[in-house]
């Protein structure tokens, strides 16, 4: 079979299905992932194919979901747990931070934690409180975890597979706003690019624009709009947020001399800060302007009818590009 055209959500479904077929030890756990197929239908059809021992509707308790997955991993299973929305990961924060992340180290490597925590994340969907969060920085600071953030269908499929195959715990931030955006998926050919590497998705010379996950379409759109103004942006999809592929980013910045980072999370204390700090250090003599960031404000995520002003949009990104090039 060659490549098929799938929405991101369905590419993940396919990744889960193929992983369930490939390895008996893989099982899915979460709220409403069984008969319903998940509130985003990402697990649609898997319960009927694999049954309730492998696609498990759990009680409504996130610490319990993640905590039991630790025990299953010790017993040799590869649990893939779904957190229904980004804002509901916090009851499981203790298990993720003090247990999932540390068990391998605690046992001096005796025990592996091949756990995948799927989290639909990000805003822009007109939702009520707690349904639009971008908490990636709260996990990237903790050693022992890995984080992937696919932005397109091909990555969605393969990162799902690769996260499940990984012997370390992986948080998979799924771009919920883009779940229904289609793209080509080739499930038969493992991509050459490692999931832990960033990808230059557009070459350019004037500045580098770095984004990930749900922000990628906006990043590309911005580059197009900038091109119309005669500005040639290089665009990078970070793809992996832990580890972050600094070499690829630095190489680009060494070419362009300028970096703009865009994410939905609040700028203050967001992952962009870490990236800006490292790139400022590594590219000190190449930077023609300070690294700049466009992102959310230091505010609780606002009600849906204000979110357009909170989230980066084309104009804010271009404004950032203008400020960057003004130097």
């Amino acid at each position: 079979m060659s490549s098929t055209n799938l929405p991101i959500a369905k590419a993940i479904t396919a990744g889960l299905r193929d992983a369930l077929r490939a390895d008996d030890k893989v099982l899915l756990m979460g709220e409403d992932i069984g008969v319903l197929g998940g509130v985003f239908r990402v697990t649609d059809g898997l319960h009927s194919e694999f049954g309730s021992q492998r696609v498990v509707d759990t009680p409504l308790a996130e610490a319990g979901i993640v905590g039991t997955s630790v025990g299953l991993a010790v017993r040799g299973y590869r649990p893939v747990v779904e957190i229904q929305f980004d804002g509901f990961v916090f009851p499981a924060f203790n298990q993720i931070t003090t247990q999932v992340a540390k068990m391998h180290n605690r046992t001096a490597g005796a025990v592996h934690m091949p756990i995948v925590i799927r989290i639909p994340h990000g805003g822009g969907i007109g939702a009520i409180e707690h349904h639009s969060e971008s908490p990636e920085a709260l996990f990237a600071h903790t050693a022992g975890l890995r984080i992937l953030a696919p932005s397109n269908a091909q990555d969605a499929y393969w990162m799902t597979r690769q996260a499940i195959e990984c012997e370390d715990p992986v948080i998979l931030f799924e771009p919920k706003k883009r779940y229904w955006v289609k793209g080509d998926v080739d499930p038969d050919h493992r991509p050459e690019l490692s999931p832990w590497q960033a990808e230059v998705v557009r070459s350019g010379t004037d500045a580098t624009l770095l984004a990930w996950g749900p922000s990628m379409p906006l990043a590309l759109e911005s580059a197009q709009a900038a091109a119309a103004d005669g500005i040639d942006l290089e665009v990078i999809d970070a793809r992996s947020l832990s580890p972050i592929d600094f070499p690829t980013i630095a190489a680009s910045v060494q070419r362009t001399g300028r970096l703009l980072i865009m994410h939905e999370a609040p700028v203050l204390g967001g992952l962009g800060g870490e990236i800006a700090a490292r790139i400022s250090e590594q590219c000190f003599y190449h930077l023609e302007a300070p690294v700049m960031r466009v992102g959310g404000y230091h505010l609780p995520y606002p009600p849906a009818r204000m979110e357009h002003a909170y989230l980066p949009d084309l104009d804010r990104v271009l404004d950032g590009v203008d400020r960057l090039l003004a130097h």
């Binding site: 709220e31 409403d32 069984g34 008969v35 319903l36 197929g37 509130v39 509707d57 759990t58 009680p59 409504l60 308790a61 996130e62 610490a63 319990g64 804002g87 509901f88 916090f90 009851p91 007109g126 939702a127 009520i128 409180e129 707690h130 349904h131 709009a225 119309a228 203050l268 404000y297 230091h298 505010l299 609780p300 606002p302 009600p303 849906a304 009818r305 204000m306 979110e307 357009h308 002003a309 909170y310 084309l314 104009d315 804010r316 271009l318 404004d319």
Partner: protein, 400 residues
């Protein structure tokens, strides 16, 4: 019998279900709860919750809130709301619990508590603010003695206990003053009952003997997950492991709910500590307007529960009492229709908030980062307005 005791019957049917109104409206006497509900009963405190007038009031309330609820669903379909979580079928549980509380009590809802809100005097449009996406909550909790709607399941339960601990420190528990002794009613669903924070709330409430009543509407479903996944035994039994007395009532029977909640709140405010009530009811609609219940439950189940409809039940009871007439029923329906229309117009007329408002309440005291970002935002917007004038936006082919 084994030394391993459950002491709790493990079959649901063995846990009694208190019912004062049968589905056909027949009233079963219940000495203990009657004393709480009706002034006529021996032991009553004189506040008659079951006068014909009050019963008609509950009927009207339920009709009103159902109309508002249905209107909210259609507002969502019209794109006026981002989402709506219907409470259809749970009117008796909510109107009963709401009216069982006293003015001074503090109620702590989850996000589907429209009947509770109605009983507390919160205008329906205020509930819709957060579903429309114009605010995260529509009222002052202290003014209306009702906590905001809470989305992170179970998180509100410890708040309720903390508030009750505050009541103890304020000396408004167990003084015998009906007008001032105060208690808290904490609401959560069958699904939320599994969250660890709910259990921790039981622990704190029991440990401090806080004046709080936990009230679960077991509406049989947590989105697509049946209540049996949260508990294999009746949920009413959950709290007993902490020594918190509990009871299981028919949640579609407004009188049973009224009686149980009033009795529990009175015990709590008298200083007898926490209490727990499971109200057995049914979520007649889908989980929210985003949900499709047909994917996980058979239509016949909805039909069966339709026959236990709480509004119909009270109407039948009033008919049996001869205390309701066609004119009253029609008037209720008309008022409900008016309410729905008002709601419709109110919501359609709602302006979108100025986003600069998002900077206002992140902190109570001045905050330099937020102030700086607010300034930046205003400058950015201003520049953009200039651009707009110059039609720059159009040059970019993009709308502001």
């Amino acid at each position: 019998m084994s030394v391993f005791a459950t002491t709790i019957p493990s079959v649901a049917e063995q846990e009694p279900l208190i019912q004062l109104l049968a589905p056909d409206g027949t009233r079963t006497p219940h000495p203990e709860l009657d004393a709480v509900i009706s002034a006529a009963a021996p032991g009553s405190d004189g506040d008659d919750l079951a006068t014909p007038e009050r019963l008609r009031g509950y009927y009207r309330d339920m009709v009103m809130i159902r109309a508002a609820d249905l209107e909210a669903t259609s507002l969502q379909r019209q794109g006026q709301l981002g989402l709506w979580a219907s409470a259809l079928g749970q009117e008796a549980a909510q109107i009963g619990a709401g009216h069982a509380s006293r003015e001074q009590d503090y109620l702590v809802p989850t996000y589907r508590e429209h009947g509770i809100a109605w009983a507390r005097g919160i205008e329906p449009w205020r509930l819709l603010e957060s579903f429309r996406g114009v605010s995260h909550g529509g009222w002052d909790p202290n003014e209306l003695r009702t906590h905001p709607y809470m989305i992170v399941l179970g998180s509100q339960a410890p708040h309720a206990v903390g508030y009750a601990m505050g009541l103890q420190r304020d000396g408004v528990v167990g003084t015998g003053e009906t007008a001032t002794d105060t208690a808290v009613l904490a609401l959560f669903g069958d699904g939320a009952s599994s969250e660890g924070e709910v259990s921790e709330s039981f622990t704190f409430a029991a440990s401090f003997q806080a004046p709080v009543v936990f009230f679960t509407q077991n509406n049989q479903w947590a989105i697509s997950v049946p209540a049996s996944v949260q508990s294999r035994v009746p949920l009413a039994q959950r709290s007993r492991g902490w020594g918190i007395p509990s009871v299981r009532v028919d949640g579609n029977d407004v009188l049973a709910v009224l009686g149980a909640v009033r009795a529990a709140l009175d015990a709590a405010r008298a200083g007898e500590g926490p209490q727990f009530i499971e109200a057995v009811t049914y979520r007649m609609a889908a989980h929210t307007t985003s949900d499709d219940a047909s994917r996980y439950r058979p239509a016949v189940e909805e039909q069966e529960w339709g026959e236990k409809d709480p509004i119909l039940r009270l109407r039948r009871h009033l008919e049996q009492l001869g205390e309701i007439d066609e004119a009253f029923i029609v008037r209720c329906d008309e008022e409900a229709h008016e309410l729905a229309m008002e709601l419709h117009h109110h919501i359609h007329g709602m302006e979108d908030p100025d986003p600069v408002g998002m900077f206002t309440h992140a902190y109570a005291e001045p905050h330099p980062i937020v102030e700086a970002e607010r300034e930046q935002y205003l400058e950015y917007i201003a520049q953009f307005e200039d651009e707009n004038e110059n039609d720059k936006a159009e040059q970019r082919g993009e709308q502001a």
